[in-house]
Symmetry: C2
Subunit: 214 residues, 2 copies
């Protein structure tokens, strides 16, 4: 795994990921991480509250970047466009900052360990709240702010998964934008609320499926 | 708080919620919950793995109901409509099953205690995966399945929050449908991907805001 930061924080992150890969996440201790980084346990705890947190070093920066991009968006931009553009920008920054091998190794740990996934979900929920607050500050009302934030986070997650699972290196931001295009297609093509398109009704009758309970 | 289930599980849920309200969630022990329900601690652990889990008694039934509604949806229905209709149906069932005071008291605990919120997020992530699987079984491809599932869960969350925070008793399913209408409005009104509407461009120039980094 490449070295991506020369400072203590980066060395600890790097040592942790190397050990998680070599020995497993559960088997690695904070003491071993510190030793591998050439630092003390005490130094580790100056940077991270626990072993799990070493994987969330970039969360705060990510949230702050997204909020700043929302604050800096043109005042007339639509809420969803503001959010998605901010997520694309932050996604591009993350991609520039992190080695893709690190991102993939971290993603594998999140999917393999419930306790890491838990914290990931908490961080995403915190991010959603921060996005909602930033939209409120722009004068976006409810439920538009919550909808734009939650939809945006969903697009970020889906774009992220497509980015890390792609065989070839690709553009994270483009995957987020692609997910938005997919969502627009889904919301545009579905029958409108409390009504069905004539074509859909005709197909439904032809298929002789039981009526939905409503 | 009203009694809503006469069986042991219901009595334990009820006793737990009463005690959480009276003494606080952190202060209440499993032994106290069992005693209040007129049962033993051993019986408690036959139903629930821990104190927290007593608040998630309905999660599995909710997930199963949503999956079954997806499986039973007309084959030609759009993925997002399938998901949202299933969530509306399950939401209506939840509303019929649970006293609104219980739902509100439980929601207050989720927002107040990080460890409860954590489990809530895990359950929602599990629900999203179950929805994605059910869509795949219907032949819905990626990324449509993930998008419909994640967007649906977001609408469920937002609809739920609006339902429990409404002063008067209202219809949970209608709030989910209302959130979908809101999302459709957001995705329809935003500028299309990689393009801006002429009106928006004109306004943006007039406002003299800095160009977005893209």
């Amino acid at each position: 795994m490449a070295r991506w930061e020369p400072d203590a924080r980066g060395r600890l992150e790097n040592a942790a990921m190397d050990l998680f890969q070599e020995r497993g996440y559960l088997e690695t201790t904070v003491g071993e991480i510190a030793a591998r980084a050439g630092l003390t346990e005490r130094t580790f705890f100056r940077y991270f509250a626990d072993k799990r947190e070493v994987l969330f070093s970039g969360s705060q920066a990510l949230e702050q970047s997204i909020v700043e991009h929302i604050q800096g968006a043109p005042p007339d931009a639509s809420p969803l466009d503001v959010v998605v553009t901010a997520l694309e920008q932050a996604g591009a920054e993350l991609q520039a900052r992190r080695d893709l091998r690190y991102v993939r190794a971290r993603y594998a740990l999140v999917t393999q360990h419930a306790e890491i996934q838990e914290r990931e979900l908490i961080k995403l929920a915190s991010l959603a709240r921060a996005v909602i607050r930033a939209l409120h500050e722009r004068g976006v009302a409810e439920p538009a702010a919550s909808l734009a934030a939650e939809a945006g986070i969903a697009l970020f997650k889906i774009g992220f998964e497509r980015w890390v699972n792609e065989r070839k290196a690709s553009d994270f931001a483009a995957h987020i934008r692609g997910a938005l295009d997919g969502l627009k297609a889904l919301t545009a093509h579905g029958p409108p609320a409390n009504a069905r398109s004539p074509a859909t009704n005709a197909q439904r009758s032809a298929a002789k499926t039981p009526a939905r309970r409503r």
